[in-house]
Symmetry: C2
């Protein structure tokens, strides 16, 4: 498959806001992110999953410095989007595996999740793209997670000595 | 910010499987994706959001051709991860906006969601990365969504004649 995982990163100073059970109708995502843009909040990753045809969960990460402004903006908008609950976590870190050809994630995702499972690190949320897989974990587990992932992908060895992916 | 949205894409022939309320404890994501890897299913994007400290939603997309194998593999594993419900959608398309410097999504995400809202296209799920923002929409809305997004980012004009982002 030619998947080459070239590195792993950890990002701290991160916070996550989750909106649980937002009305799943056109315009609600636009309302939330327009309101955040208006509050000059820079959003990192956005994740939405559908819970049913009526409801969806939307969560997003911001730099820790923006958390207070983001929280305030979200509190102002929750009623307009019929959101049932807001979840805020500022004790998180994001561990990512980066590389080319991640498209067929199965080899990479499987190995990353297994490494975190063996290290007893809980995965709070997941996002993937063609070039990376990112997991939000507890801040206390950040180093443990990074070490587990580096070992699983043998990132301490030169690329040509690693077993694929 | 130097955000340059360079293009928009639409991907059909896609299906999405959502696992609702999976036990949020270490090892469960590894079980699910190891089982899919064992069934030779190539997974596109993986999205997980937390619903509470006990439960999480995990969804992933596969090519339409892999849906039957993926469904079978998931049915075999749902009890082991205490998943309450499985959601399958094969009537979807993924519309993406691609470009460099998307990191501070607020300008781009906001504009994309607004374009879809005005076109009355419902967003089923969202994933973002440094280089793209992707929304899953109903298959029937695929063309409408692509046109709305291309107009919002003026993709029919040369890059130097567009208003930022
Ligand atoms: C929940 C939210 O994303 C909604 N489905 C929308 O289209 O805006
Ligand atoms: C839900 C699942 O991702 C679980 N939290 C895990 O770590 O595997």
């Amino acid at each position: 498959e030619g998947i080459l995982v070239s590195g792993a990163t950890i990002q701290k100073n991160l916070a996550k806001i989750g909106l649980i059970a937002v009305d799943n109708k056109p315009g609600n995502a636009a309302k939330i992110f327009a309101h955040l843009a208006g509050a000059q909040v820079i959003v990192n990753d956005i994740i939405q999953t559908e819970i049913s045809s009526e409801k969806a969960n939307i969560s997003f990460t911001v730099g820790s410095a923006d958390l207070a402004d983001a929280k305030k903006a979200i509190e102002e908008i929750v009623r307009q989007v019929q959101c049932q609950d807001v979840f805020v976590r500022d004790d998180i870190a994001e561990v990512s595996v980066v590389g080319v050809g991640m498209r067929s994630h199965c080899g990479v995702a499987d190995r990353m999740f297994k490494a975190l499972a063996v290290a007893e690190v809980n995965i709070d949320s997941i996002t993937t793209s063609e070039i990376r897989i990112s997991c939000i974990v507890d801040l206390d587990d950040a180093e443990k997670a990074l070490v587990a992932v580096c070992e699983a992908f043998e990132l301490d060895k030169p690329a040509d000595e690693r077993t694929s992916p």
